[in-house]
Amino acid sequence: MDVATTLPKLLMIAWLLPLASFAITSLGYSVPQFLGIRVRYSTQVYAAYIAIGAIVLGFVLSCIALFGCWLPAHPLTAASHEGGEHAAAQEHATTSPSLFRYVAQHEAQEAASHAEEHNNEAPPYITGDWYALGIFGKLRLTIGYYIDTLTVTMFAMVTLIASCVHIYAFGYMHDELHDYTDHEVHLADGEHLHRRGRFHRFFQYLSLFSFSMLGICISGNFAMTFVFWELVGICSYFLIGFYIERQSASTAANKAFIVNRIGDFGMLIGLMTIWSTLGTFNFGDMKAADGTVVPGVFSQLHRPENHYRIAPTDSMIAFEGRNQIAEAIRKAGSTEPVAMEATVKAEVARLRAEDGTKWGHLLLFVAGVGIFCGCVGKSAQFPLHVWLPDAMEGPTPVSALVHSATMVAAGVFLVGRSYPLFSAEALLVIAVVGCITLFIAATIAVTQYDIKRVLAYSTVSQLGFMMLALGLGGWVAGLFHLITHAFFKSLLFLCSGSVIHAVHSNDMRHMGGLRKKMPITAYTMLVGCLAIAGVGVPFLAGFSGFHSKDAIVEQALSHWHHNWADGFSWLLFVVPVFSAALTAFYMFRLWYLTFAGEPQDHHRFDHAHESPRSMTGPLVLLAVFAVIAGWGLPSFAPGPFANFSIPNLLEQARPIGTLASKPGVYLSDLFIPSEHIAHAPEMFRPIKLPAGLAAITAAIVGIFLATVIYLWKSVSAAKLAAAMQPLYQLSWHKWWFDELYDFIFVRPVHAISAFIAQVMDRGLIDGIIHTLAWIARGCAMVVSTGGDRWVIDNVVDTFAEKTWNLGLSLRSLQTGRLRQYVMFIVVCTIVLFIVASVWRIAVAGP
């Protein structure tokens, strides 16, 4: 069996296993419960075993898929650092007053010999359809697969983290294995809520969640992606609202769901644009039944004749230039279909040649930004970031899963997956949004005291980093950070869960000194903090976050250098670096407040204890990954492990046409640099060194400040806050976003609704209806008295009377004697015969 048939099957099994687990636990537990059968807790435990078994088996299968199938067929090569984008860079370099102009010139000269070959073709992939949900004309809604290195990598990462979370949750959710008293819910009589434990249901949702995320990863087209996108949304709704009796939890679940719908609206627009202009949803080229190749979305936009650069298709141009085309057709005067088609083609070609290449780019921009809107919602980017911190209402394992591997990762993954769709302007939007997000979130995180909230804002901030990287052209950097972040963020969340489990509080002001009580949690969390802060030795090695963040900063610097002239692109470098420092600061603030110093709440401290092995085991495993995820294996490693590193994997997965730099079309100054420019060897000093120094410096400064303030307490945090009161208030109140949205959207909607209900509905519509009813009643009364009572009743009464009289006169015939009736029949037969005979003889002739 070759890879093309084995791999889809392997991944499909890995994908469907959680679904099977969901189905089994639904049928086995939820359905009986729905029917009123109490499932015993000793039985509920098996739901966890089923779910864990499914996801671990999925992980094993994913590893087999990655190391056993994919890598042997597509061996990794060492990262090529030579060259990148040339012709455009050369032109650009000569025109822009770049500080690093000589770099660009040097690069251009260096690479002039292979000027046109450096843009990448499509990476190796396997695609196909499993099942067609529906075919409407050309529109095929299918369950399909698109498997490339990214898919396989994501499968391994998602199943690994989901496995850890599942196992961890087995320990964490033990409370649900007996009747549960929810201390945060106060009933009307002042009692706390007592309810049945819902252990099985939690694992049921987890399984469905994993299934949905894996579905996004393996999805072969945008339609299927959208389906699983929504499935992820509904799962997050279930899980965030797991403690549905709590007002805050149900509100948070609603908020997450509704905010995501806003983003999905944009995504639908993007999907419509794609469908109406490209005519397909498939990512890859699909072989039709008759053997012809149907080009997918990516290869339609990146055609060989354009050297795989992004270029709008004919249909986009035709759509945008429809007025010109109509004019041309009118001029040509022919309505023959063949002639008209020729006219259209000629006109499209003319438009494509004319006036730069602006025709069609607007649609491209709309499609890209539309898709990105969905990602904004899912990945909690500004301005839709407000749901994520509230999502902390769910149980901590859910937070870990939502924040690392599944929900928010889905947004970044989709941006990465549909990367060939984005034009330079769309990428700029992504970058700017990411930049705003990362800054806002970082500033908010600095002042929060809820341990999970701090982590939540850090997630938002890190997602901003990823979006920024992607937006600045750093595809590998963004997705690299996604994966490393998945490891250390899930680690951090699970650690915080462990702490919460121990002290039964989220508030860091109740903690402190826990290092002694729960050393494993403390030191694994320290690893996580170091990783997220990006600590490492430049050019040598570091925690995983160091490598990925370094790549992002390099890309930002590269972008600044290429857009020197526009005057604000420095912000896209400085803000991230500043935020990186903030990140290091607040993470260590968190660690110090929680684990270092003296215990601030002795009661809680005394009851604290290290978590069970089912919880610490995943912590240690994830800590290991948080350290080593950025490292690579040498080229002489055996078999599929040669050159194995996540950046190399991602480099192999690089989508079609994304290596090239992208010059802006509408913004003529805009230049999204190729990723390789940033770490090409000859660019070493000008970009890699300053970027690396900036990143590590930011991390060290942040850690140092945190140490000064919270460990040594040389500077009082309270005084500092008082000194910067406006800034502190801004951060503490989360930039008043919730209040702003409440003021801008929620209240006006309430007011308008109230107005419509009172005035339109009650006043206007009810009034009209009442008037109509009154008129109808009047008419009915007229008809009733005049027509019905008088005319009709009289007629009917007369008939009744006549019938009655007739019946009276006929009743004497009814003797009730059976034998007389028989006699009547016989006599009548004879009479009939005689009459008929007489008739025949007399009238009809003999």
């Binding site: 034998r819 006699m823 016989v826 006599v827 037969t829 004879i830 015969f833």
Partner: protein
């Protein structure tokens, strides 16, 4: 050796005489048990007429269902309700006379109608001898199953068969129900000590 008498006609006369005679006896006799007995003989003779007309299966059915089943049922009823004052109930002479008159009229009418069609007067012995002797049980069965063997282009009687079956079931259930109702007043039991 030529035979002057056509024997099937002789048997026709014999059976029809029995049938008619006992039918008249049924009308005339006032005793209900004897009526039943005469009716049996009349129906049995009719079965003989069926055999003569080539309908042997129907003839057997006539004996089995009519004579065997229906009449036993009838006598069953007679005995269930048998009390001396009901065994014979006289009808008024006027009614009898009028009924006789009307009956004779009806018979004349029917007889005239029967004789008025020349095609119905019968075949010659020669023609009858040419008709092959055909068994009828299997064709009847196939006809009930919806397949005509004598004229394949015509449809069979499957639907009617089904309807009759359902009808029979309904009737029997209904009869059982009717007979059960308020049985206690009859005071009759099949056992001797009842």
């Amino acid at each position: 050796m030529e035979d002057p008498i056509y024997w099937p006609s002789f048997f026709f006369l014999l059976f029809s005489a029995i049938a008619c005679a006992f039918a008249v006896a049924v009308v005339v006799t006032p005793n209900v048990v004897r009526m039943a007995f005469y009716l049996v003989l009349s129906l049995a003779a009719t079965a003989g007429l069926f055999f003569l007309a080539g309908a042997d299966f129907v003839g057997a059915m006539q004996i089995m269902i009519y004579v065997g089943g229906t009449l036993v049922l009838l006598i069953f009823g007679v005995m269930l309700t048998s009390q001396d004052r009901f065994i014979s109930m006289k009808t008024s002479n006027f009614e009898l006379g009028m009924a006789t008159g009307v009956g004779v009229c009806l018979f004349i009418l029917l007889a005239v109608a029967a004789r008025s069609i020349p095609e119905w007067h019968g075949l010659t012995a020669q023609q009858v001898a040419e008709i092959p002797l055909e068994p009828t049980a299997a064709p009847l069965g196939m006809g009930l199953l919806g397949a005509r063997v004598d004229s394949p282009d015509r449809s069979g009687y499957l639907l009617i068969f089904e309807i009759i079956s359902v009808h029979l079931l309904v009737v029997l259930v209904g009869a059982a129900y009717l007979a059960r109702a308020r049985r206690s007043r009859s005071g009759f039991s099949l056992t001797s000590d009842g």
